[in-house]
Symmetry: C2
Amino acid sequence: MTNPILVEVMRGAVVESRHRGAVAVADAAGRTVFCLGDIAVPVFPRSAIKALQALPLVEEGAADRYGFGEEELALACASHSGEPAHVAGVESMLAKTGLAVSALRCGVHWPMAQDAAAAAARAGGPSALHNNCSGKHAGFLCLACAMGVDTADYFRPEHPVQSHVRAVLEDLTGVTLDREVCAIDGCSVPTWAMPLGRLAHGFAKFGTGHGLAPQRARAAARLREACARQPWFVAGTGRFCTEIMQRFGRRVFVKTGAEGVYCGALPEQGLGIAVKCDDGAGRAAQAIMAAVIARFLPLDAAARAALEPFIRPVLRNWNGFEVGALRMSEALT
Amino acid sequence: MTNPILVEVMRGAVVESRHRGAVAVADAAGRTVFCLGDIAVPVFPRSAIKALQALPLVEEGAADRYGFGEEELALACASHSGEPAHVAGVESMLAKTGLAVSALRCGVHWPMAQDAAAAAARAGGPSALHNNCSGKHAGFLCLACAMGVDTADYFRPEHPVQSHVRAVLEDLTGVTLDREVCAIDGCSVPTWAMPLGRLAHGFAKFGTGHGLAPQRARAAARLREACARQPWFVAGTGRFCTEIMQRFGRRVFVKTGAEGVYCGALPEQGLGIAVKCDDGAGRAAQAIMAAVIARFLPLDAAARAALEPFIRPVLRNWNGFEVGALRMSEALT
């Protein structure tokens, strides 16, 4: 099936570009509450499931053993911007675990935040600490240490850490994640494609604890709490995930992933959300997630007004002139 | 009509993302030689038509009056990476015209080239010279000086420079460019939406001179020659436009634009090409353009092999691991 156009990019009065995609909203019993497009086709969740990948770190007692605080738990769930406090937080995670920066196998990229990139340039270039996934990797390393397994190959699909993560993902989503749907993520850990509807179901379980074993439900609650209290560590200055969780706290969990994926949970409503933009466009996926939140979360006028610039963002050029806007599909408003 | 999927983004063995789009190939008489998707819907050509926007600079004698060489003409047609010699070239254009950097109204952004961005960071940040459009803007300023009109508002639609550019675009494409299809580009000059088929026709005329007045045909030939001889100044190190024109010289003119647009010409074949990716993805538009060149330009085995990595690029992650590839539609191969 051809997914519907969910977002149009307007320049002046003309549609310049179009984004198709799919949306699934599900409850913890696995009922699809709302959907647009094909939610059965497998989608790589990429970084949108970092919080699920961090569950073993908490469940196995590794985070407690090494004394991780809320900032560090939030970093384990983060695609951070590589700002100084993000880098310091990941350094702290490694130091508490007794590991060097060289243990990180996520690779190196320039910080997403322009100021941080400029600072890194002045300091001689970025390190693996600046990689947006460095907190997740520090969490995996911590888990490997707590499990007493080797830390050299923690990112490989056959390593006990990744096997553990896979089992948790299978428990949350109800999907068997076999080799045919396994690929390598940007930071070199495995990523498994799964239907968007199952992903939404997994996030409903993560957001509520319903359908999870008590220890797993407690770990989910603790990670949600860490992200709700330290949202800056989940993304960074001015970023959508941070701004939404700063405003809504425990009412909304939201996390971006590469290639136009967004996942989230509305714990009070008992709902999980999964979004995939067909073409991988983050700008559209973010606007769609904002529209879904506005549709399913009861909002007062101020909160609705705060979401509006994310649902229908104005586009400005290098001089700050207004040149266009994103236009959201009526199916989502 | 729904445009076809032209490029699939593979991660491992799974399709992760999909790009739809349209392609037009036309001759100078306006015959459509090849097309995919809707080539009648208006599309903003953005920076893909900088060479057409530079025609008045040459035609009116402005480039000669201020002594512009081939590098400077190539910069007038460029979306450059902000590398040191690009910046120096635009400085030279302004100096020859007797204007300061502050005359540029393109706005400021960080250089596209990572090394150049790091260097700019160490030097205190970028200036308008680093804007990828600064050469085009220096060309507009030079034209304004030669026309004896004010240089303050050269970027506005009603300014004589932009009226002149619009008339040239109308002559090349045969489209009446009125207010309803006019919007503001990233660098603040007007951009007019026009059908992809007309854009391809315009590039066939630009590439051959057929159907143009003698003075305009000579200006087109001179700009093509400047870009063929100085392709590094049209884009920059490692960029597609530069690498293609370095390899094929006068046989291929190619130019990228924002939001998934590519335009080009194959002068020996008498063909113009226009590509638009529905969602604005440059990665897909570039691969499509490479595939169109490979289809319509007679190639020896070495040249075909050189194009292959652009048509079916391998995707690597931050560790350099191969994680996937772009898969081109059979309709284009």
